[in-house]
């Protein structure tokens, strides 16, 4: 059997399905439901077996269309940076507020992707977010939580 990344992903999915199936069997159901034709664990158990079946088939059957990815050509650094910025954005958005964190997230993302036109970067972050906030909060009346703007009295 030819081992390639697709097979490894299938193996991981097989293991995941086995874990899912194990967890499905552990679901606590009401005593009167234990022997019912259908209870909260029935469908997940079928899904666990389906996962084992399809990933097992993928592992066993030949893979004529092997996908080869040239890892050297992939841009891991910028992708990882974007993910880290997004995580920081997610961690601070509730405490700091939507306007400041979103504007800084956009500004930092433009910068890390290689943009250096500062005026355009600024326009497409702070004023852009302010405009978008006005559209959501002011026009469409979608509530946006922003402790920072509230503290300086801009937002009610």
């Amino acid at each position: 059997m030819n081992i390639n990344t697709t097979k490894i992903i299938s193996l991981l999915f097989f293991i995941f399905s086995a874990f899912y199936l194990y967890t499905a069997y552990q679901i606590q159901v009401f005593a009167f439901d234990e022997n019912a034709p259908f209870n909260a664990r029935t469908f997940p158990i079928y899904l666990g077996y389906a996962g084992l079946f399809f990933s097992g088939l993928k592992l066993i059957l030949p893979d004529p269309d092997t996908i080869k990815v040239e890892h050297r050509t992939l841009e891991y650094k910028k992708t990882a940076l974007l993910i880290i910025i997004a995580i920081i954005y997610g961690a601070t958005i509730l405490k700091v507020g939507y306007f400041l964190t979103t504007s800084l997230f956009l500004f930092a993302s433009y910068y890390f992707l290689g943009e250096r036109r500062w005026v355009l970067m600024f326009l497409l972050s702070f004023p852009f977010v302010a405009g978008f906030m006005y559209l959501l909060h002011g026009v469409l009346e979608i509530y946006l939580r922003d402790p920072f703007l509230k503290s300086i009295g801009v937002m009610g």
Binding site: I9, A40, L47, S55, P62, A86, I93, Y143
Partner: protein, 498 residues
């Protein structure tokens, strides 16, 4: 039906809804022109905006984005030989050679008129077919629905990724597994939450769509160093040529459009098929039907060869609304996103939709006519200018997609956990995309997961735990036999492939 049509027309013709169709068509055209970013991403990005509207307006906006994206995809196919969406690949076979001969304006005009005619004709088919099918589907019982969902999931797995059936089926199972997280709908027992309170209500549909489409597509573009906007920078405003279609060309289109719209619509109705298959089939059918002298022009700039796929892909878009509106079962990943959004509004699409919510059912159909007119106005004179707008560098495009994705989740839950979960799913989805694991089956399965469990539960309880319900009714058997044939066909193809 007349009363329903009038209700729909009144709703669709309100200033707000016409404006929404315009916004949807414009935004969809732009996203559709960007290779790599399809209608699903465009619709996913629009979901946060729809929160502020009533369900009918929200669905009209999303429908506008959908056919706008398919329409826009044809422009990049013709001008750049870089199809924006898979449904417009066949358009490039004759559209691009025509553009190379200095007839880009004419090719765009043929595509625009064909799309308009295809979309309009199929909206008429939809008008008559949807209510009839709704009445028929009232006789469907739980086993039929369960079987139909199995068929839909199998079909989308079979058609979504060529030769990757097992990968697609794994994505189906993963989508169903994700849908099973949270409280069981009947007993309220929590499942797969691992004592995390944030998972008690399950994983949000918007979160899964945003992470597997918008966010992971943005990350994939960066990871693969693609630049979806690069092609747009090559568009020259001065070299498009005339957009006039002469009498002979119109004559050819008159014959092509009706038959291509029928095939496009019927393929669109089938679960799992859609614009891509419809356009290829229409192209193939047209090549077989034309005279020998015209046949030789195929691939070199044939009017019929351009008109057929363009008519069919737009007709398929309208067709794909039929199973969603009448059965409550989306036939494609794109309509699955719309179904999920409707469920978020508290609306359950299905056979009773046109009775319980006629304004939604009919206004969507009516708005399609308006949408087609708007697309025609938009595409003919404005396309070269829209193409220039696309020359926005990806350094700006990608952060904006991430921003819209995260905002979508933020305004929904105000919860950090959801943002982390979205990033986590997006990273996994990006990795899976690298190895050709298709995402539409995952979305369809996620949307159908709850309904599927519900129908299986009813079926098993009614048959006292026996699986006999699968062969009790002729309709159930027919649906399941079709499903088995699809599975066997793909296993056979995998085994016999050299």
């Amino acid at each position: 039906m007349t009363e329903g049509i009038l209700i729909g027309l009144t709703t669709a013709l309100s200033f707000q809804n016409i404006f929404m169709v315009m916004i949807g068509c414009f935004f969809g055209t732009i996203i559709g022109m960007l290779p790599g970013l399809g209608p699903m991403t465009a619709i996913a990005l629009m979901i946060p905006i729809t929160y502020g509207f009533d369900p009918a307006t929200g669905l009209i906006l999303m429908a506008g984005v959908y056919y706008g994206a398919v329409f826009g995809g044809s422009t990049s196919s013709i001008l750049l030989n870089a199809p924006g969406v898979p449904g417009t690949v066949a358009t490039s076979f004759d559209g691009y050679p025509m553009a190379q001969q200095g007839k880009a304006g004419k090719a765009l005009a043929i595509a625009a008129w064909s799309s308009f005619a295809g979309g309009t004709l199929s909206a008429i088919y939809l008008l008559f077919m949807a209510p009839s099918l709704s009445k028929v589907s009232l006789s469907f019982r739980s086993p039929d629905y369960f079987a139909l969902m199995i068929l839909g999931l199998t079909a989308i797995a079979a058609f979504s990724s060529k030769g990757q059936f097992l990968k697609a089926m794994m994505m189906v199972v993963l989508g169903l597994m994700l849908a099973s997280v949270g409280q069981d709908s009947l007993s309220d027992i929590t499942r797969f939450t691992f004592d995390n309170m944030n998972l008690t209500d399950g994983i949000s549909f918007v979160l899964v769509v945003m992470s597997t489409f918008a966010m992971s597509e943005a990350l994939t573009i960066i990871l693969k160093r693609n630049d979806p906007t690069a092609a747009a920078k090559q568009v020259s405003l001065t070299e498009l040529g005339s957009i006039r279609i002469n009498k002979e060309e119109r004559g050819k289109m008159y014959r092509t459009i009706p038959r291509s719209s029928v095939i496009g619509f019927l393929i669109g109705v089938l679960p799992g098929a859609g614009a891509t298959i419809a356009s290829f089939l229409a192209y193939g059918m047209e090549r077989n039907l034309v005279k020998d002298e015209e046949k030789e022009k195929f691939g070199k700039g044939s009017v019929n060869g351009l008109s057929a796929p363009e008519t069919a892909n737009n007709a398929a878009c309208s067709g794909s609304f039929v199973p969603m509106l009448t059965l409550g079962i989306p036939g494609s990943g794109t309509t699955a996103v719309m179904l999920g959004a409707l469920l978020g509004f508290g609306i359950q699409p299905g056979p009773r939709l046109y009775m319980t919510n006629p304004e939604i059912f009919w206004s969507v159909i009516m708005s399609m006519y308006i949408g087609m007119v708007i697309l025609l106005i938009l595409n003919l004179p404005l396309i070269p200018y829209i193409a220039r707008i696309l020359a926005v560098p990806k350094n700006y495009l990608i952060p904006l997609i991430l921003f819209f994705s995260i905002t979508g989740i933020y305004v929904m839950s105000f919860n950090n956990f959801d943002i982390y979960l979205m990033i986590g799913i997006a990273v996994v989805a990006t990795f899976l995309r690298l190895y050709d694991f298709p995402m539409p089956p995952l979305i369809l399965a996620f949307v159908l997961g709850g309904l599927m469990e519900e129908n299986l539960r009813r079926s098993l309880l009614l048959s006292n735990g026996s699986w006999e319900f699968l062969w009790d009714r002729t309709l159930t058997i027919c649906i399941l036999v079709t499903t088995i044939l699809i599975v066997l066909w793909h296993i056979y193809k995998t085994l016999t492939k050299k």
